[in-house]
């Protein structure tokens, strides 16, 4: 008979070895006979043991994305102009209002509600309380404390400071002018001539003249210049996000960091993500803000960390194929291969993107001073053929300038005949009308037409294809030429060629940002087109304040028809799409307004 010690030992060994065998394979239920001595008597018990299942291998909850080549220029909300800067600013801070990235509907952001005065000009925003300023301290997200040791929360004063700092000429913000369209007193500050010669009192007076006032910590009063429909859009833009005064200008317990406040280690923010690391020209990393309470338009993020690299399109695609990037754009050269590949074609998505590609006319230079000639060239451009054979990215042939999907813009469903269409017969008829006007008998008598674009392989292929189309349909040979970007910009402003190429991307998703800010009198391209139509401009000014969406859309459709058909001041070519591949384990949305809402994305963490 075994002694008690021995029996327990043997039993333990038996159980142990049986359990060990279970480690290698699938968990099994094991039964073991255990001999125990209980109350002086030897007892044999049967014990069943189920070893715990081995842990499933999970992928890290980290999203790997790519910005594109070159460093992110800045993440200061007042100074951000390009898409990567704005993307980071939108991830780490939230505006008063927020745009739903899919529906493009306005949602409350840091302002949980607002009231409007009777004249529709003064809005009183109720700013959410209890959302702390945070920073990454090297190992975790922590709250920022003020000089008494209390937590700093986001207040209406931070928004007032942010807007006024953006408008301050000393900040020299590229994008401040957008706020000038809406906020009263803003242009007087932003456009103040001779700023550095003013006295401090004069400067302060201009700053105080901006109609943005924090009545208390939770109330912000903003007065707009017109009761425009897009005011709430503009006040939510990144240039009007809250900015932390104490770290930029310093206070009793904080050293002023000035322009360096955006560097990692100094940066402070309050939104769903926090800046963790920024290795210039290499990568930028944000982590989930564990102290973000989540609001309806911007919930608590489900992803722990987002890491952006800064690679060119082709190396980025190689990284995607190697499994190191989770989503990236497809280089044009690879589109055909991706569409044909069984795996990649499943991961491919072509989604609308907020830009329009167009050719403009200098309507003061012959033969572009004749509307029939302009219309002929516009009709003769085979947009669908261009998209199918040259650009290949599923772009949409454009009949007008404003991109469908923007508030107020006509769509192909609502206004299928607005603007202008590709039509070879109509083109020839227009050409004949032109020749009759001028008394020409042969196309050789038409003055030389120069088509210019900014140097790029993509634009070159499109320009050459279009020149070929014009030759085939109309018999006109245009001279195709190109200039380096900055030189090109100067040329457009000083002496634009007969036909020039540009694109326009949205600042905020409203038709006003397109048709009026670009094409109307006083718009960006007035000098390049030399086209000034008072009826057109007046119509747009009316449309800006029209409250009924259907009427508003009709007005913009009418305006577009003037722009693209009646006066044919530009040739709309196509509306951009983004051609993306995304790994199947990423659950994502596709933003219509230019930057993604990463707090709504998630990853399937289990490895297949």
């Amino acid at each position: 008979m075994l002694s008690k010690k021995w029996s327990v030992l043997v039993a333990a060994l038996l159980v142990g070895t049986t359990l060990l065998t279970a480690c290698g394979g699938a968990p099994q239920v094991v039964t073991v006979e255990v001999t125990k001595v209980v109350a002086g008597e030897t007892v044999v018990e049967v014990v069943t043991a189920t070893p715990p299942p081995p842990p499933k291998e999970m992928r890290p909850n980290v999203l790997h994305l790519n910005f594109g080549p070159g460093d992110v220029p800045t993440i200061d909300p007042a100074l951000s102009t390009d898409t990567s800067s704005v993307q980071v600013v939108d991830d780490i801070t939230v505006g008063l209002t927020r745009l739903n990235e899919v529906s493009l509907l306005l949602e409350p952001g840091m302002a949980e509600s607002w009231t409007v005065s009777d004249d529709g000009l003064t809005y009183t925003f109720k700013v959410r309380q209890g959302i702390p300023w945070v920073r990454w301290n090297g190992s975790a997200v922590e709250e920022v404390l003020d000089c008494e040791g209390n937590v700093r929360y986001v207040t209406a004063n931070d928004f007032e400071y942010g807007i006024k700092r953006t408008g301050n000429p000393g900040t020299a913000s590229d994008y401040a002018y957008v706020l000038g369209f809406a906020i009263k007193g803003f242009n007087e500050l932003n456009g103040a001539a001779g700023w550095s010669d003013l006295t401090d009192e004069e400067k302060q007076a201009l700053v105080d003249g901006v109609a943005v006032k924090a009545l208390d910590a939770s109330t912000l009063e903003v007065t707009f210049t017109t009761p425009a429909v897009y005011n709430l859009n503009i006040i939510g833009l990144w240039v009007a996000h809250a900015q932390p005064k104490w770290i930029i200008e310093g206070d009793d317990c904080t050293e002023a960091r000035g322009d360096r406040w955006t560097e990692p280690g100094f940066n402070q923010s309050y939104g769903p993500f926090v800046l963790k690391e920024w290795i210039h020209d290499s990568s930028l990393t944000v982590v989930k803000n564990t102290l973000w309470p989540g609001i309806e338009s911007s919930p608590v993020p489900q992803i722990d960390e987002i890491q952006w690299s800064m690679l060119d399109a082709s190396p980025a695609f190689a990284e995607y194929e190697a499994g190191n990037l989770d989503s990236t754009g497809v280089p044009i050269a690879d589109i055909d291969r991706v569409k044909a590949d069984p795996v990649l074609s499943q991961e491919l998505t072509i989604a609308p993107s907020g830009c329009t590609y167009y050719y403009g006319f200098n309507t003061s230079k012959p033969p572009m001073d004749n509307v029939h000639m302009r219309r002929a060239l516009s009709h003769a451009l085979d947009r669908q053929g261009l998209v199918d054979n040259v650009t290949k990215g599923g772009q949409e042939p454009a009949q007008w300038f404003c991109r469908p999907g923007m508030a107020g813009c006509p769509t192909m469903e609502s206004h299928p005949d607005a603007g202008i269409k590709s039509d070879a017969e109509a083109a020839k008829a227009e050409l004949k009308a032109y020749m009759d006007d001028m008394g020409f008998t042969s196309v050789d008598q038409i003055p030389e037409i120069v088509l210019m674009y900014n140097t790029s392989e993509g634009h070159k292929r499109i320009a050459e294809a279009i020149a070929e189309m014009w030759k085939e349909t109309l018999g006109i040979q245009v001279t195709v030429t190109n200039q380096e970007w900055k030189v090109y910009l100067v040329t457009l402003q000083e002496d634009s060629p007969q036909v020039w190429r540009l694109g326009w991307c949205l600042d905020y998703p409203d038709a006003n940002n397109w048709t009026r800010e670009v094409m109307a009198i006083g718009g960006h391209e007035e000098t390049a087109t030399q086209w000034r139509n008072e009826t057109f401009t007046a119509l747009l000014e009316q449309a800006a304040v029209e409250a009924d969406p259907v009427t508003r859309q009709d007005m913009y459709a009418q305006a577009e028809t003037i722009l693209c058909y009646e006066d044919a001041a530009i040739i709309p070519i196509y509306w951009y799409t983004m051609v993306n591949v995304t790994k199947p384990y990423v659950n994502r949305t596709y933003s219509q307004h230019g930057h993604e809402s990463h707090e709504k994305w998630s990853l399937n963490l289990e490895l297949e």
């Binding site: 080549p69 070159g70 460093d71 220029p73 800045t74 200061d76 100074l79 102009t81 000429p169 000393g170 020299a172 913000s173 590229d174 401040a176 002018y177 932003n190 456009g191 103040a192 001539a193 700023w195 550095s196 002023a256 960091r257 000035g258 322009d259 360096r260 406040w261 955006t262 560097e263 290795i279 210039h280 020209d281 290499s282 690299s309 800064m310 690679l311 060119d312 082709s314 190396p315 980025a316 190689a318 990284e319 194929e321 190697a322 499994g323 190191n324 380096e484 970007w485 900055k486 030189v487 910009l489 100067v490 402003q493 540009l502 960006h524």
Partner: protein, 352 residues
């Protein structure tokens, strides 16, 4: 020899001055400015920006201000353009005083970085890649050339020169993506893009993890892609030079003296044969550095090459000056080093 080096370095200062003058003239002659945007900035904002960066002053004054900032160390209460706490350039001396020198100016494209920041963080990466590429070029090219010369008209010769032709014909633009495809995407042995070293660096450019696999796994493909092209040049030159030297009289004398073939080759033949090779190393290093832009783009390496090009498209004047002067310094120093090595290799050459 010492006086010679000092004289050369003084010449370098003159060369740099002339280069900076020419660069300044050219960058302002080219149409377009740093603040031209597609969405035109309001005129007052442009005026503000130009005032901030002294671009509204007459040209001679701008140039003088630039030289003053770079060359003259001084104690100033003038706050730096952005709150820099660099340890080397704007040293805080307590109170409101800063010791300021070697200040190459701000970057117009990036508000929070200055030219010194950019050079300090990105130049070491380009240097590391450049030196590694040179090492690869020498490691492949020298033995190949020597072998081809010693075994002239055998299979080694033809094979070696064939590989050399291949290396010099296939540009980095083609070899880079092919390497990325094979080793990065298909086999997944090496990471397709990126660089393993991060600031801060030792002795200005030596990576802290030089002896770890993490550094080498990123550096192998780019160094190889750049190095093979240059190794071809070195191989052919070494072969031709060695062939010429081997047929000289003094080599025959050395053999007649009874020296072993190995000693003849290494002690006598090679030292003379390498002179032409060393001559091209200087300009070759400069060529490697300036040509890194393409490699850095293909492999996503955060080096200085990209700034060399984008600063011009952005009309970022301080960065343009900074990068051009930097490359000029490297070229001159490389040539001085080449001349010194010359003297060591060939005792007949002496400088006073």
């Amino acid at each position: 020899m010492g006086r010679y080096v000092i004289r050369r370095l003084l010449w370098m200062l003159l060369v740099l001055f002339v280069i900076s003058l020419i660069t300044f003239a050219m960058e302002h002659a080219v149409p377009g400015g740093p603040f031209d945007r597609e969405k035109k900035l309001p005129a007052e904002i442009i005026a503000n920006l130009e005032e901030r960066y002294h671009l509204d002053e007459p040209y001679w004054k701008q140039y003088a201000l630039y030289l003053y900032d770079v060359l003259v160390p001084r104690i100033t209460t003038e706050k730096p353009l952005s709150m820099m706490d660099e340890t080397m350039v704007n040293i805080k001396l307590g109170g409101k005083y800063y010791l300021r020198w070697m200040n190459f100016g701000p970057s117009y494209s990036s508000r929070s970085r200055t030219v010194n920041d950019i050079i300090r963080e990105q130049l070491p990466v380009s240097l590391q890649l450049g030196l590694l590429s040179m090492a690869v070029a020498l490691a492949i090219g020298l033995p190949m050339g020597i072998l081809a010369a010693l075994k002239q008209n055998t299979i080694w010769d033809y094979l070696g020169m064939g590989v050399a032709i291949f290396g010099v014909s296939v540009p980095v633009v083609a070899m880079g993506p092919v390497l990325v495809w094979i080793f990065g995407v298909a086999l997944k042995w090496l990471p397709p893009t990126g660089w393993g070293a991060r600031p801060p660096y030792l002795f200005f450019f030596v990576p802290r993890d030089l002896f770890t696999w993490n550094f080498w796994r990123y550096a192998l493909m780019p160094a190889f892609a750049v190095g093979t092209g240059f190794s071809a040049i070195i191989a052919r030159l070494t072969r031709a030079s060695l062939l010429q030297v081997i047929h000289e009289d003094y080599i025959r004398t050395a053999r007649a003296k009874g020296l072993s073939e190995r000693v003849v080759t290494t002690r006598h033949a090679l030292r003379n044969a390498l002179i032409p090779v060393v001559t091209i190393l200087g300009p070759m290093f400069a060529a490697v550095l300036t040509g890194l832009f393409v490699v850095e783009q293909v492999f996503g390496i955060p080096g200085l090459g990209r700034y060399f090009i984008t600063s011009i498209t952005n009309r970022d004047y301080p960065v343009i000056m900074g990068t051009i002067l930097l490359y000029a310094i490297f070229l001159v120093i490389a040539n001085v080093l080449v001349d010194i090595t010359y003297a060591w290799l060939d005792p007949r050459i002496r400088y006073e």
